[in-house]
């Protein structure tokens, strides 16, 4: 299956790309597996994205422009878009 990762703000700056298309053998796949794959591709961002087995406080994830998720057990299916944002709005 394929999922699209869209990066915004600091995650975009750290990865140096605005998006990635990733393929996985299994569908569904956990968000943890997706982020582990991203961390391997983009080391600088990976160090900040995950704190151990948890999403770091500074990272926000949205699925398909709809709900925000924090649980890394969230299941991702073929065609999903995962938006990775910096925390905080305002200004």
């Amino acid at each position: 299956m394929f999922v699209t990762i869209e990066y915004f703000g600091v995650p975009r700056q750290k990865t140096g790309v605005s998006s990635d298309s990733l393929s996985f053998a299994n569908s569904p796949t956990s968000l943890f597996d997706v982020l582990t794959e991203i961390a391997e591709r983009h080391t600088a961002f990976g160090e900040q994205c995950l704190t151990g087995d948890e999403l770091s406080r500074e990272t926000i994830i949205n699925l398909n422009g709809d709900q925000f998720v924090r649980s890394l057990d969230t299941q991702v299916v073929n065609g999903d878009h995962i938006l990775i944002l910096s925390t905080d709005a305002g200004g």
Binding site: E6, F8, G9, V10, R12, Q13, Q48, S56, R57, E58, I60, N62, G65, D66, Q67, F68, V69, R70, S71, L83, L85, S86, T87, D88, A89, G90, G91
Partner: protein, 592 residues
């Protein structure tokens, strides 16, 4: 006996006579209203400021300092300007950071209250000498920046200045008060000062306050500074708030074309990356700040060689909201707002509203079209001069709608008269509540309810009573930040917010407060703000959104629909969570 962190006094300056008097503030008052917005609100209640037209001689305007000012705590060089707003008729508390805060506190005051009206343009000087009124005819008509430069030549390097631009002089309803390029921006405090014929407040002094635990304070300050270099503030440091634009656009919560849409065709051109690639960029910090969130970009055309400070809110209001897709025009418009001394959000909101009135045939100004950058700049110039359409635009969108009629109030982008910041209420429904109930109107700095929408604790497009209860907590946190005072961009470094802010206040004051005491303090501050509004004539019908945003879906996101009943359910839940009546009244007034 002195109070740690405080002078224990405020000075009232009468602009009519130039005379001043000092009054004491007790420790018990500071424990409820520690500084900033809280202290300013308290003093306005004490002086019955709700009774007076904000542009009358009798009105009061408070510069309120805080116990943290002058301490080594990062981002603490902040002050609040608090008055009744000429734009909303309700409480207005604007905050800003600069050396003015440091010098103001060193003048020996915890607050300075300005009342009266000078016969001719003046400046008011509060320093180690006797408070005095000096003529300012030579400054009248100058931009805030030019007036400040002139004052810098007139006074010693220890003096600092809060200055109005020409918009404040002319009482534009959303005029700002400026200092060192920063602005106490929203709600028209600049007009209040202008109505008093006061061009500038000048402060200086050498009076310092004592701290209860200096060693502990220095140690904690170092920790906080270190954290302020970390990932919690990285977005602000590296990209600035403009980084919000692409995210909001992707989620269809970037208000566009006067809230007709939630996304904008040319958003990529406004990203910090694109702006930085196309022009020179510099960064700067407020006084006593280690974050350094200010990102300035060069303007590539015209005669100006100054860089302009760019935030998400000024891009949003002058770009997408007016459907202007040329970054150069938006940067020029932003710079022009700074020069005149007007709030960019209200400026953009009012012009976008006027553009839609033209589109609907309600205003005969065919040159003023959505998407036209030259028209945007012309409209801002007219606000500055008051000529032609400028006479209407300088009133703000609500007052304009009331004059234009034809139910145009339905699409005037405001709550309580304050133009709505760049958060589409239909797509961010907890924030919609925050806007509806805000004491100074639609405001993203007094309610952080968008944090709930941007989390897994709520469905952003389906507002609920439980989300409303969470919104209260964000408002309480903001009330503490605005009263200690600390910059909100620091909030992400706190793990246990109320306990940690209690610790900071304890290090200064020695009060031994705990988390619960801080939460109670926050509730008391919000109650006082509400009381001020009730005394001004607030009624529950004010806590709502423009009709456009209710009962119909966002054009480019059919799932983003907020019905009146849902909003009302959230408002009731919010009121009850605050301990108010279901329709939002206090059970009893605090200041009786």
């Amino acid at each position: 006996m002195s109070i740690f962190g405080y002078h224990g006094v405020y000075t009232t300056v009468d602009a009519t006579t130039g005379t001043s008097s000092q009054s004491s503030i007790t420790e018990s008052t500071f424990r409820r209203f520690p500084g900033g917005s809280a202290l300013g609100t308290h003093l306005l209640l004490k002086h019955n400021a709700w009774q007076h037209d904000p542009l009358s001689a009798e009105s009061s305007l408070v510069f309120a300092f805080s116990p943290l000012i002058g301490s080594p705590l990062t981002t603490s060089a902040k002050f609040a300007v608090v008055s009744r707003s000429p734009l909303t008729g309700r409480l207005n508390d604007s905050l800003a950071s600069s050396s003015f805060a440091l010098a103001g506190k060193k003048s020996g005051n915890d607050a300075i209250l300005i009342t009266g009206k000078a016969e001719s343009p003046c400046i008011l000087v509060i320093d180690d000498q006797q408070t005095r009124k000096l003529p300012a005819d030579h400054l009248w008509g100058l931009s805030a920046e030019d007036a400040e430069a002139s004052l810098r030549e007139q006074f010693s390097g220890d003096h600092h200045f809060a200055v109005i631009g020409s918009a404040g002089e002319q009482q534009v309803a959303y005029a700002t008060i400026s200092h060192s390029g920063r602005h106490a921006g929203r709600g028209g405090s600049g007009a209040v000062l202008g109505a008093k014929n006061v061009k500038a407040i000048v402060v200086a002094g050498n009076q310092r306050t004592q701290w209860a635990d200096t060693d502990g304070l220095v140690k904690r300050a170092k920790q906080l500074s270190k954290l302020s270099f970390g990932p919690a503030t990285e977005k602000y440091r590296e990209l600035g708030t403009a980084a919000n634009l692409l995210v909001f656009n992707r989620l269809h919560c970037l208000p566009t074309r006067n809230f007709q849409r939630g996304s904008f065709a040319n958003s990529d051109q406004f990203s910090p990356e694109a702006l930085g690639a196309a022009r020179d960029k510099t960064r700067s910090s407020c006084a006593a700040c280690t974050i350094g969130c200010t990102h300035l970009y060069s303007i590539n055309s015209g005669t100006s060689n100054r860089n302009v400070r760019i935030e998400y809110e000024n891009i949003y209001a002058l770009g997408p909201l007016c459907d202007v897709q040329d970054p150069e025009a938006v940067l020029q418009a932003s710079q022009l707002c700074d020069e005149l001394g007007i709030d960019t959000i209200s400026t953009g909101g009012t012009i976008a509203f006027a553009m839609e009135c033209v589109e609907r045939g309600l205003l005969d100004e065919p040159w003023l079209r959505f998407g036209d950058g030259a028209a945007l700049l012309k409209a801002i110039h007219l606000i500055g001069t008051g000529a032609g359409l400028g006479k209407l635009l300088r009133l703000g969108s609500r007052a304009m709608a009331n004059i234009i009629g034809h139910n145009s109030i339905a699409f005037a982008p405001q709550v309580k008269g304050l133009e709505i910041p760049g958060y589409e209420p239909r797509a961010l429904q907890t924030m919609a509540l925050g806007f509806a109930v805000g004491t100074r109107g639609a405001d993203h700095n007094r309610s952080g309810a968008y944090e709930i929408d941007f989390s897994d604790t709520a469905d952003r497009r389906n507002g609920t009573a439980s989300a409303a209860r969470l919104a209260v907590d964000t408002e309480d946190k903001a009330a503490i930040m605005d009263s200690l005072i600390l910059c909100k961009f620091l909030r992400g470094v706190f793990i246990d917010y109320f306990a940690e802010t209690a610790e900071l206040l304890n290090l200064i004051t020695g009060w031994g407060l705990d988390q619960s005491a801080m939460q109670n303090m926050a509730r008391g501050i919000i109650d006082a703000k509400k009381e001020f509004n009730i005394r001004c004539g607030w009624t529950p019908v004010e806590d709502t959104l423009p009709q456009r945003m209710l009962n119909s879906a966002l054009q480019d996101d059919p799932e983003a629909r907020l019905d009146t009943q849902t909003l009302q359910t959230m408002i009731t839940a919010y009121n009850l969570e605050r301990g108010w009546t279901a329709d939002g009244y206090l059970d009893e007034m605090l200041s009786k």
